[in-house]
């Protein structure tokens, strides 16, 4: 079973994403900020990470940088309420930049694409 980490400071978003992804048959780990996300990345052999950008303690950009430093092969998707950072995602080396939407089809198809299912 593929392991996916969802990091978002909003509890409701974490819940929504994990429910949806579990339903799709993934094992979902949750983190409330970048620091927690990194701890899980250290412990668990993950297949994909979904990072919010704006989070307390450590934001998604910093977490992305550190994850890519340690595991460059691990796909990381940015999912954010801010559309305006889209142009930077290439420099941040994230694999996908998704603007949050109540319709999770975009997110789910991106996940499927990276997990090569």
């Amino acid at each position: 079973m593929k392991k996916i980490l969802v990091a978002d400071d909003e509890m409701s978003i974490r819940l929504l994403y994990s429910e949806e992804l579990k339903e799709e048959g993934y094992e979902v780990y949750l983190a409330a900020n970048g620091r927690e996300a990194l701890e899980i990345v250290e412990k668990v052999p993950l297949d994909l990470v979904i990072l919010d950008i704006k989070m307390p303690e450590m934001d998604g950009i910093e977490a992305l940088r550190q994850i890519k430093e340690r595991q460059p092969e691990l796909p990381v998707l940015l999912s954010t309420a801010y559309g305006e950072y889209r142009q930077d995602f290439a420099t941040w080396a994230s694999d996908e930049y998704l603007v949050k939407s109540s319709d999770l089809e975009d997110l789910k198809s991106a996940v499927k694409r990276y997990l090569k299912e």
Binding site: S12, I13, A81, K100, S102
Partner: protein
């Protein structure tokens, strides 16, 4: 004997002292002498003025008819011999050679036997010779000789007296002539009249048929003034001609001669030079002296002398008159100058009444063309176009008598339609472009006469504006020629006078400054206006920026909960049975969330939080791509699409944003034509001052925008529709202005609306920081059929 002698001498003295004329006295004396001596004839031969010939003047037998006028040269015959020796002599016909030498006397006395000659002389002069003729051989006694001697002395005395009297008479005549001349020439100082009087008086006092006078300039040899009276058979000789004939010793220079005209008549002339102190020379010439019988006579030395004396007087009078004339013309010039300066002063005052360039030019042109101003027929102001290095016609005016009776100041300020069209005039500022260009290049005035022959012809002027004479002065401000003023008198054909030109020369400097100041003023004014506009735009963009940041802050806060609400609603929807009424409620939640998310996207688009990706794109392709997106909507509303796309260079733009513009405009069109219609999309290039633009005109047939809302259509959140954010046009406009383009609206009530989007091709390809002070650059054109 003695008694007889006394009687003779008494009679002689009586005759001598009588008051009868000299001629009579001499006649009587000769007659008395012949009678007293009882000789057949007593003859008196007078020595002529040249002292070469002795001519028979008197005879004891009465007047000498012309055919009897006998003459002897000095030394010839007894007459000539006695004149030469001044001694009395008696000869007899019988003596050898006597008859031959005195043959001429046979005419008077064919049978003369004795001839006695006595000189008639006093201590100084020989007047002539007295000859006594008798048919018998006679030898005068001592007493007779003494008597004759006394008689010759009396004759000499009488002759001297006569000569003196004649001399005195001549002097008196000459004096009275000079008096006449003096009177004539002192009566006037007007030169032409004076000259006329001089020639008339001269001709009359010399009794000549005609007289002429000329005064020439000594350096240029041009005739300054001349005057003529009566018949002038030949031209008045020049002073040079006179001086070319050297005078004989003791004579003053003159030219005298005679000519035979075509009709065979002989004409005489006498010319003497007029010698002035200054640069002038002259001649006075008289023609044909009248003889008492109407014939023409040559002029004698006395005439010459008289003419000389008159010449002296004339010269003085003419010099006086010339001086007077100069003084007079100076005074006149001063008066004109004062008048012209007054014009300039009033003009300056009038120029202070305005700072508007247009008005200033009007006032200047009025001043130049008004009758009470400088009175030129036409005046044109030309200005330098620095950027293109050309001189351009700005404004022209022509003379008109309409404002003639109004005081200058008021006339200057009243405008009047007498314009000359000069806006098309344009000439490069190069030396080969004629006087107008040269005036500006050299910063000096040009006075061009007969320009057709010279290079001064103002090139590039319309053929109907080709003055034969014109004057052009530079408009100089701060040592820079900013333009030129050109004037002519073409319409009336008057020559351009020196004084008004001089005044124009002075005035042009002031005019240059005034125009330059006005120009600066209008530049400042324009800058001010622009600053105000920029300030207004900045205020608006500030307002928008504030709105943007508020909206974007809110949007982010709202998006997360929306995602949760929407996401869970979907999840609930999946769990709820299809037939359950809950299913409907959940769908409402989902739809509303979707609508809110769309609204959020639009707000974020408007607030510029979405970033730009610039590239080179074909405008027509962007339109086609966008049309695909709205194809379904167009078809649903039965809207026919008409495309008129011109092929144009690629645009530097954010394709996504530009597509958004077209999308919004197409959406608007669809909504305006719910019941069907036509959507016309036209693309075309537009040349503007700052470069090439591409325009898209999107026209619908939706009946137009109501007047009362027209001015609101670009306002964010304004909408006439029941749905939508109202941001469609505001977003479109914002995107276009970020691309340094413009959105225009042509509203035709009852027909439809045309939105024209104009985008620069390449000029402003740099992307500005989004959301910072970029002004919406839209304009609303006044709708047809009514104002706002």
């Amino acid at each position: 004997m003695a008694t007889e002698r006394i009687a003779f001498l008494t009679q002689m003295v009586e005759v001598l002292t009588s008051t009868i004329s000299f001629g009579e006295r001499l006649n009587n004396m000769v007659h008395l002498l012949a009678r007293h001596l009882k000789v057949d004839l007593a003859l008196y031969f007078g020595l002529d003025k040249a002292k070469e010939t002795l001519i028979l003047n008197l005879s004891s037998q009465g007047p000498v008819p012309p055919h009897m006028r006998v003459e002897f040269a000095l030394g010839q015959g007894l007459v000539g011999e006695v004149a030469g020796t001044r001694k009395a002599k008696t000869v007899q016909r019988s003596q050898p050679g006597v008859l031959a030498a005195n043959q001429a006397l046979e005419k008077l006395h064919p049978a003369f036997a004795t001839l006695v000659g006595f000189p008639v002389a006093d201590d100084n002069f020989l007047y002539g010779v007295l000859i006594l003729v008798d048919r018998q051989e006679r030898h005068l006694t001592q007493a007779e000789r003494q008597n004759v001697h006394l008689a010759t002395l009396m004759l000499a005395g009488t002759l001297r007296q006569a000569l003196l009297q004649e001399e005195a008479k001549k002097r008196i005549a000459e004096l009275s002539v000079l008096f006449e001349v003096g009177k004539a020439i002192s009566a006037t100082v007007e030169l032409n009249e004076l000259l006329e009087r001089v020639v008339t008086t001269t001709a009359k006092v010399i009794t000549a048929r005609g007289a002429a006078l000329q005064i020439i300039d000594a350096t240029t040899k041009e005739v300054r003034v001349s005057s003529e009276y009566g018949e002038i058979p030949r031209a008045c000789p020049s002073p040079g001609e006179i001086l070319a004939t050297p005078p004989q010793a003791g004579e003053l220079p003159h030219l005298q001669g005679q000519e035979v005209n075509a009709a065979g008549g002989t004409h005489y002339f006498l010319a003497v030079p007029l010698t002035f102190k200054g640069q002038l020379q002259g001649t006075i010439c008289v023609y044909d002296k009248f003889a008492p019988n109407g014939d023409y006579l040559p002029f004698d030395p006395e005439n010459r002398q008289l003419l000389y004396t008159m010449a002296g007087l004339i010269v003085n009078a003419i010099e006086n008159a010339l001086t007077f004339k100069q003084v007079e013309s100076l005074a006149e010039r001063n008066e004109r100058m004062v008048r012209n300066l007054t014009v300039v002063q009033v003009l300056s005052r009038a120029l202070l009444t305005t700072v508007q360039e247009e008005r200033l030019l009007e006032i200047i042109l009025q001043g130049l063309t008004l009758d009470q101003g400088l009175g030129f027929d036409r005046a044109v102001v030309l200005m330098v176009d620095e950027a293109n290095q050309v001189l351009k016609g700005v404004k022209g005016a022509q003379r008109s008598a309409k404002l003639k009776d109004i005081p200058l100041f008021e006339a200057l300020l009243s405008s009047e339609d007498k314009e000359v069209k000069v806006e098309a005039w344009q000439m490069p500022l190069r030396p080969d472009q004629g006087a107008l260009a040269q005036t500006v290049l050299q910063k000096r005035p040009y006075h061009v006469k007969e320009p057709a022959r010279k290079t001064g012809r103002p090139l590039a002027l319309p053929p109907d504006f080709a003055p034969s004479e014109f004057f052009v002065a530079p408009l100089v401000a701060k040592d820079r020629a900013i333009g030129a003023i050109m004037v002519d008198n073409q319409a009336s054909g008057r020559p351009l006078e020196e004084e008004p030109l001089h005044v124009l020369r002075m005035f042009s400097t002031q005019a240059g400054l005034v125009v330059e100041n006005a120009h600066l003023y209008s530049t400042i004014e324009a800058n001010n206006r622009e600053l105000l506009l920029i300030r207004e735009r900045m205020l608006e963009s500030d307002r928008l920026a504030a709105l943007s940041s508020l909206a974007s802050g809110m949007a982010h806060e709202i998006r997360n909960p929306l995602v949760s609400i929407g996401g869970f609603a979907r999840r609930i929807g999946k769990l709820v049975d299809e037939k359950s009424p809950l299913r409907g409620y959940v769908e409402v939640i989902q739809e509303e969330v979707t609508r809110l998310e769309k609204l959020l996207r639009e707000i974020l688009d408007f607030t510029g939080e979405n970033l730009s990706f610039y590239g080179d794109h074909e405008l027509n392709k962007l339109i086609d791509d966008t049309l695909l997106l709205v194809q379904r909507d167009l078809e649903a509303c039965h809207i026919k699409v008409i495309k008129e796309l011109s092929s144009m260079p690629r645009l530097h733009c954010d394709d996504r944003q530009i597509k958004q513009v077209f999308y919004n405009l197409f959406q608007n069109a669809c909504q305006a034509m719910q019941q069907g219609g036509a959507l016309t999309i036209r693309t075309y290039p537009v040349e503007k001052e700052d470069g090439l633009y591409e325009a898209v005109a999107i026209t619908d047939t939706g009946g137009g925008i109501p007047m009362e809302v027209l001015h609101n259509i670009f306002n964010p959140f304004f909408s006439t529709k029941d749905y939508g954010t109202g941001l469609g046009l505001a977003i479109a406009q914002r995107i276009v202005s970020r691309h340094y383009g413009q959105v225009e609206v042509n509203n035709e009530l009852g027909k439809g609306v045309t939105f024209i989007v104009t985008l620069p091709v390449a000029k402003y390809c740099l992307v500005k920081e989004p959301g910072h002070g970029v002004a919406p650059a839209s304009t609303l054109k006044a709708p047809k059929g009514g104002g706002r």
